[in-house]
């Protein structure tokens, strides 16, 4: 009997052909996915590349010089201290003084050091410089670095260092202030990074380099006792060190052209090469600044959070309410259909149009409300409706259709059987919605809302129209504040000519991406946590 279907050899070939077709499509999809991931990776790497790398910095006062200057002053001012420019003089004087102790360049000691011996430091190996005593000294056989620190500053008698040592004054013999040996000694014993110095040392450094008037002004802003170590360090950077970034290099350049960069920076007068990480805690917590060395994203992050908070407050209740009405109460009449098709169309309107709407309605027409003057709450820095409130409401309008569509989808996905079961028990429609429809739709509603909110987070164009400030140094502190948001901050930085702002922009992009990632992660988590049990 002849079959109408292929059989035998023909069947095999037929199946093989169908399989091949499937294979081709599969490879195409795989290719598309790989391509997408690849492009994304390249994008991310390009940005990350700019958030790390060498910078050429010029300081008004170099950090190590700051530390050295402080301890040099303390050491030279200590009691029973004399400086001798000629190493031979120092050797002669010290050799005759059993209560003396001195510092010399190792080379000088080797050349002239008759009658002296080197004191070994038990927990530190000094490079290029030695601590010496007279051969007539009988007790000083070794020193710890802690004892060494005290020996040349606050100690006055030997017995203060160790009780068994003689109760006689210490005589200190130092090379002159400008000598490299003294510099090397301080840098190795006391450190050269101001950040690691005790708070008192930082205060002393400030006092050393600022005029008494400037110090008084600082104390007037905030008493010294209320300031932290970090505060003082920041003051030192701002007022004394005053770094200027001359040039920046990306991570890949820093790795690949290291030699060339080093040579180039060496040729720049007064410039130092530093490896800088642009995303630091300081960057996140510092306010906006016109100097890239100090600029941070706190102002923009707070602005974004405030704006999105208002957006959320407005769009989520309204959106969910509208979705409930349309899904559960709407009769599907012509009015409902009109509303529905409007919502669907609104979701496709370009965001700049919402900006213009926000400008006309919230900034202009409702100015008394959005500027806060209606409530007598006008922010002195604002005198118009270009506030957090206007921006939040504009973004609220923008994501409202998204939230409604998402929430409707989630509500529709709740099985009709639950509604029927509930109503069949004599529940009212509202009881049914509240106890069964909403709880079961909630994960879907939340996921949709979070995704809509992250859209609002990244939105730029409408806020430019509504009037986000591009240069704002004050944190927003309420709905009536002027504001800027992260994407606008990024946009503003990218358009600045100085190289350092490009790195800042890259760092801010990473911050923005991280925030978005956190939100998307939250959405995934919620979806997983409340996944269906039915």
């Amino acid at each position: 009997m002849m079959s109408d279907f292929p059989e035998g050899q023909e069947l095999e070939q037929f199946i093989k052909r169908r399989r091949q077709k499937g294979l081709i499509w599969r490879s195409l999809f795989l290719l598309a996915t790989t391509l997408g991931v690849l492009v994304l990776m390249v994008l991310l790497l390009t940005i990350l590349n700019k958030t790390l790398g060498y910078v050429a910095v010029r300081y008004r006062m170099e950090p190590d010089e700051l530390v050295v200057a402080l301890y040099r002053t303390i050491m030279l001012d200590a009691s029973q201290t004399q400086t001798l420019a000629n190493p031979a003089d120092l050797t002669r004087g010290l050799a005759a003084d059993p209560d003396g102790v001195g510092i010399m360049a190792r080379a000088d000691f080797e050349a002239t050091g008759q009658g002296l011996r080197v004191v070994p430091i038990t927990d530190l190996s000094l490079q290029g410089v030695v601590v010496v005593v007279s051969e007539a000294n009988t007790w000083l056989t070794d020193l710890t670095s802690l004892e060494l620190m005290r020996l040349f500053t606050i100690a006055t008698t030997w017995s203060e260092l160790r009780p068994e040592w003689p109760q006689r004054p210490i005589h200190r013999w130092l090379p002159p202030a400008s000598s490299p040996a003294l510099h090397a000694f301080i840098a190795q014993v006391y450190g050269e990074d101001p950040r690691t110095q005790p708070t008192e040392a930082l205060v002393a450094m400030l006092a050393m380099h600022l005029s008494p008037g400037a110090m008084r002004q600082i104390m007037a802003e905030k008493p010294l006792s209320a300031r932290t170590h970090e505060d003082f360090y920041q003051l030192l950077v701002d007022r004394v060190m005053e770094p200027t970034i001359l040039e920046t290099w990306s991570f890949s350049e820093s790795i690949l052209n290291r030699k060339a960069i080093q040579a180039r920076v060496a040729a720049m007068p007064d410039a130092r090469l530093e490896f800088r990480r642009w995303i630091t805690w300081d960057f996140i917590t510092s306010p906006q600044s016109s100097r890239p060395e100090f600029a941070g994203v706190r102002t923009a992050i707070l602005g974004s959070l405030w704006v999105v908070f208002i957006t959320l407050l407005f769009a989520i209740p309204v959106g969910i309410g509208a979705a409930i009405y349309l899904e559960e109460y709407g009769s599907g009449g012509w009015l409902d259909q009109l509303i529905e098709s409007n919502i669907n169309n609104l979701a496709g309107v370009p965001s700049i149009i919402y900006g213009m709407l926000g400008l006309a309605v919230f900034v202009r027409a409702l100015e008394p409300l959005t500027s806060g003057s209606l409530f007598g709450l006008v922010d002195p820095a604002t005198s118009n409706g270009r506030t957090v409130l206007s921006a939040g409401l504009t973004l609220g309008l923008l994501i409202l259709p998204l939230i409604i569509i998402n929430a409707r989808e989630a509500i529709r996905a709740v099985p009709q059987a639950f509604r029927e079961a509930s109503l069949g028990l004599g529940a009212t429609q509202w009881q049914t919605i509240w106890s069964h429809v909403l709880p079961n739709a909630l994960p879907g509603i939340l996921t949709g809302s979070i995704l809509a909110i992250s859209r609002a987070f990244g939105e730029t164009a409408p806020l430019v129209v509504v009037g986000a400030s591009t240069a704002i140094f004050l944190d927003p502190h309420g709905p009536f504040s002027k504001f800027t948001v992260l994407p606008i901050q990024i946009y503003q930085w990218t358009s600045r000519p100085q190289a350092a702002f490009q790195n800042l922009a890259a760092a801010a992009i990473i911050v923005l991406l991280a925030l978005l990632l956190v939100m998307n992660g939250l959405a995934v988590y919620l979806r997983h946590k409340y996944r269906r049990t039915y």
Partner: protein, 259 residues
């Protein structure tokens, strides 16, 4: 709305149901006796579910559905404008074809209906009593906190019955309550129906002839006319319908000679 002068719990008079322009069921005259089991049988699409849903106004939620005629509950037309459908459904409970527990704990499944209906007694006791009546207590008494969906299909259906019992209805409507269950589970539900009939009036839609013959006191046979409109072909005590049907069509259907 209680009017005990009528001997019947539910009575339909000239009941017609339309879905939009489609005349789904015509001229149904049915009388449901107290504490009896009435089975609605007939070919697929003849309007059994439609009629059943008229008894507790579940058709209200189908926007296109339209009802003509009267459905008397203790002599009062439940479609009168002064009747609140919420009250009707509170007295006439329903068990659906597919088990549909709420995605909540077993306890909450049973207790929720009582709570929203303002139950003031001992909720734990009510839950236990309802689960016992639904012959489910022994199986779930140790895991009342478990999700309703952690039960087997047959247990879920008994949970739904317990849930319906917990609001103390007079009538229980069941739309093919065993069609999603295996024969053993089906038999348990059947036993349960017979027990429940001592206290409740039960109306059950079924495709299973043996089931109708085994459990019901009265049987209503529906079929469709040439416009595919359903109508009540024959109604009477179950033994009569199954042994001496008056109508040829009924006989054909019951003996399995139907199209």
């Amino acid at each position: 709305m209680m009017n005990t002068s009528s001997p019947y719990v539910i009575e339909t008079q000239d009941l017609n149901v339309f879905y939009g322009d489609f005349h789904a069921v015509k001229n149904v005259q049915l009388r449901i006796e107290k504490h009896k089991i009435t089975a609605l049988i007939g070919p697929s699409g003849c309007g059994k579910s439609t009629v059943l849903r008229c008894f507790n106004r579940m058709n209200d939620f189908i926007p296109t559905a339209r009802i003509q005629g009267r459905v008397l509950f203790h002599g009062k037309n439940i479609y009168d404008p002064d009747v609140d459908p919420v009250q009707v459904r509170r007295r006439i409970g329903m068990v659906f074809q597919k088990p549909n527990p709420f995605p909540k704990s077993i306890y909450d499944n049973v207790a929720w209906g009582a709570k929203i209906n303002g139950f003031r007694g001992d909720l734990d006791q009510l839950v236990e009593e309802s689960l016992r009546r639904a012959a489910l207590w022994d199986e779930v008494k140790d895991k009342l906190d478990a999700n309703g969906y952690s039960l087997s299909g047959g247990q879920q259906q008994r949970l739904c019955i317990a849930r319906a019992l917990a609001v103390k209805p007079e009538v229980i409507l069941m739309d093919e309550p065993t069609s999603a269950l295996d024969p053993i589970a089906s038999l348990r539900i059947e036993e349960l129906m017979v027990q429940l009939a001592e206290e409740y009036t039960i109306i059950v839609v079924t495709h299973n002839m043996q089931q109708a013959a085994r459990v019901s006191d009265y049987t209503a046979f529906f079929t469709v006319d040439e416009h595919r409109t359903g109508y009540l072909e024959e109604f009477g005590p179950t033994p009569e319908i199954f042994t001496t049907p008056k109508s040829r069509i009924t006989e054909d259907y019951i003996t399995g000679r139907f199209g």
